[in-house]
């Protein structure tokens, strides 16, 4: 589960991670009030205004309606109102949002941390994530702060520092030190970075996170270390014991069809194709999508109905798939093992009748226990549904209807 930057920073601060201070605002008035409050704390008249959406590239992204960028600098309190207005309520398009963009409901008014001083401010990159091959968390760091890590990995992989953490032991101080030295830090800044990394790892573990990306981490001109941005992804499997974090979920950031599907226990992902699929099991669902492509179509979605393919879940699945106007046909592919095919077939017929007037052809492929009986039920239903038993036949039917 992803959370917003302002939420991520609040959580990090709770674990002693030093962050760029800021206040979240949903209106222009709140934004101006936030700026006044921050000025009292910092004494500075400069502020950064940051759109809060679940996508990267906000600084370079553009608000459709106003042409403003998603992250802007205000060099006096007087500018905060107008600059906030140009972002709030707008549609922000970045390289990660797709052309449709995302609506900005909240902005973060943050202190300016790039102030001049004894030394030059410098940006770094830090992330923590699971290394699947090793089954351990790895800290990745780089001196190339502000740049996409993918770009750094492609062009200058030698600039990526990696430190793996033994789960039974946790992060040791010497490891945080290794990373800080490798980043070329010295003196006070080095000590601050060690503390920063240690606090960050504790936050990562305690929140059951799947990924932290702090880009950039800033060394200020007076040698403080601060998280200027924070991307936090929580392990979905652990949300049952992270109730407080679960409250931070922002459904407006998620696809409404995916959210609706989840309430029926269905796992749905919207895609751009023309053939809807409904399958039991994630692997078979992906394989069915692939088969549609090989048959000359494009999958319109991923939909796993899980172990219980009954009339209710099948109906919910049909309704969700049919909300997509691009769908020209639907392929239901159920491998009945424990669940019997004749029951699934009855469920399909029941769901079909309940929805009524389905315009697109439906192909139902049932294999496994009582597959013949299932096919019989489908064929004799009198509905615009064709049946198949072998996967090959189902592929052929898809070709025929397209």
């Amino acid at each position: 589960m992803n959370i917003h930057e302002y939420q991520a920073k609040e959580i990090l601060a709770r674990y002693g991670v030093t962050i760029q201070r800021g206040k979240v605002a949903s209106t222009v008035d709140e934004a101006v009030a936030a700026a006044h409050a921050i000025q009292k704390e910092t004494g500075s008249e400069w502020f950064v205004i940051k759109a809060q959406i679940h996508a990267g590239g906000r600084g370079k992204g553009t608000i459709n309606e106003t042409g403003s960028h998603g992250v802007v600098l205000a060099k006096s309190i007087d500018q905060v109102g107008a600059k906030s207005e140009a972002i709030l309520g707008g549609t922000l398009v970045t390289h990660q949002t797709g052309p449709e963009g995302k609506k900005v409901n909240k902005i973060l008014i943050a202190e300016d941390v790039y102030y001049p001083g004894a030394s030059e401010p410098k940006e770094y990159y830090l992330s923590i994530l699971l290394d699947r091959a090793k089954g351990q968390n790895v800290i990745m760091a780089s001196t190339e702060g502000g740049m996409d890590i993918e770009t750094v990995a492609e062009h200058t992989p030698e600039k990526i520092i990696k430190e793996w953490i033994d789960p039974a032991v946790g992060l040791r101080r010497f490891q945080a030190q290794k990373v800080a030295f490798a980043l070329g830090l010295t003196g006070m800044a080095l000590k601050e970075m060690v503390k920063f990394i240690q606090a960050l790892y504790i936050a990562f573990e305690q929140t059951d996170s799947a990924m932290f990306e702090i880009n950039p981490v800033l060394k200020t001109s007076d040698d403080k270390i601060l998280a200027v941005d924070a991307k936090v992804d929580i392990d979905d499997n652990a949300l049952f014991r992270q109730k407080e974090i679960l409250q931070l979920r922002d459904l407006s950031e998620e696809d409404p069809l995916e959210v609706a599907a989840a309430t029926h226990g269905l796992n749905y992902v919207k895609l751009d194709g023309n053939v809807g699929v409904m399958v039991n099991g994630a692997g078979l669902a992906m394989a069915t999508m692939d088969m549609i492509k090989l048959s000359g179509g494009e999958p319109a979605n991923f939909l796993d109905v899980g172990g219980g393919a009954n009339a209710e879940t099948v109906e919910a699945g049909f309704r969700i798939i049919l909300k997509d106007p691009n769908v020209k046909a639907i392929l239901v592919n159920i491998f009945g093992g424990i669940v019997r095919c004749d029951r699934v077939a009855n469920g399909v017929v029941e769901a079909y009748k309940k929805i009524g007037a389905i315009e697109v052809p439906i192909i139902v492929r049932l294999q496994g226990t009582n597959a013949e009986e299932g096919a019989q039920i489908i064929e004799s239903s009198g509905l615009k549904v064709t049946s198949a038993i072998l996967l090959k036949d189902a592929a052929q039917r898809v070709k025929e209807v397209l």
């Binding site: 089954g135 994630a282 394989a287 996967l391």
Partner: protein, 291 residues
């Protein structure tokens, strides 16, 4: 011969008296699997499905000599169940539970290994050696006895593959569902290694999906061994978009090596017979055997 489970396995069920545990334990017993009892803390001393219930895995090991366990314990307690089994000396730990936090698996996997146990799963359909032992949730009737070993990350796709193998006139030695989570006890390569060493297995069907490096690692190992047995491969997710989780927690394309195309290319380069369509797994296997 076969791998991991057979008619001499001494099987117990953890989460024995729960809904899932009860249902699948009874299916396993009906199949003829040597199930000797189960564990549900607090229900020790009871009889369930005609078999003894124990409070702890250690009690089950002491009383019936259990060496294999299948775990249906809910996600919050599943990692603990794995570690309890390993600590009690269980050698084969098959974990069906879906939704175990990654942090928990990060601890449980190395712990099980340190105790000398083989962990299969989590989030997997289990392991079946036809006519001997079904230690999983798969429909047993699909898996006819034979000489084809199956390794797969996915449940129903394993059934699909097994069905095609049988329809092509062959049968299965052992089918291993390794699971679709980011951290799993036995990798594709390790499962392939088991089947390569099994004299009964003549050909291996290896089914993977997007995400991670397991299939590529297995393919490179197979090539390094000079392809001792023919291997047929399929990767699900050729049409999956980048960065979107496709049902399984581990099925997500992060980088270029995670894609189905990349994995299929590496598999081909390593001399594996790759089926482009999931409908062609049986046919590709027949070709592999005749070449």
């Amino acid at each position: 011969m076969s791998v991991l489970v057979n008619k001499s396995s001494k099987i117990i069920v953890q989460g024995f008296t729960g809904t899932e545990g009860s249902f699948h334990a009874s299916q396993m017993i009906e199949y003829g699997s040597p199930v000797l009892g189960g564990v549900t803390p607090g229900k020790g001393g009871q009889v369930h499905l005609g078999l003894p219930v124990f409070n702890t895995v250690q009690e089950a090991v002491d009383a019936v000599g259990a060496d294999t366990t299948i775990i249906f314990v809910p996600p919050a307690f599943a990692a603990d169940a794995i570690m309890e089994a390993a600590d009690a000396g269980i050698k084969i730990i098959i974990t069906i539970t879906e939704g175990i936090p990654v942090k928990d698996m990060m601890m449980a996997k190395p712990y099980a290994k340190s105790k000398g146990a083989t962990l299969i799963g989590p989030n997997c359909p289990g392991v079946i050696t036809p006519d001997e032992a079904k230690v999983g949730i798969m429909p047993g009737f699909i898996f006819k006895k034979g000489n084809v070993g199956i390794v797969s990350k996915s449940g129903t796709l394993t059934y699909e593959a097994a069905d095609q193998v049988v329809k092509a006139g062959y049968g299965i030695s052992t089918a291993i569902g390794i699971g679709g989570d980011p951290i799993i006890g036995t990798s594709t390569k390790e499962a392939v290694q088991l089947l390569m060493a099994d004299p009964e297995t003549e050909v291996i069907v290896m089914i993977g999906e997007i995400g991670g490096q397991y299939e590529a690692d297995a393919a490179q190992w197979i090539k390094a061994q000079n392809n001792p047995k023919p291997v047929v491969g399929f990767i699900a997710g050729q049409t999956a978009p980048k960065g979107k989780r496709m049902g399984h927690a581990g099925a997500i394309i992060g980088g270029a090596d995670d894609t189905a195309e990349a994995k299929m290319r590496i598999m081909r380069e390593c001399g594996i017979f790759v089926a482009n369509s999931p409908a062609d797994i049986g046919e590709t296997m027949a070709q592999a055997l005749s070449s």
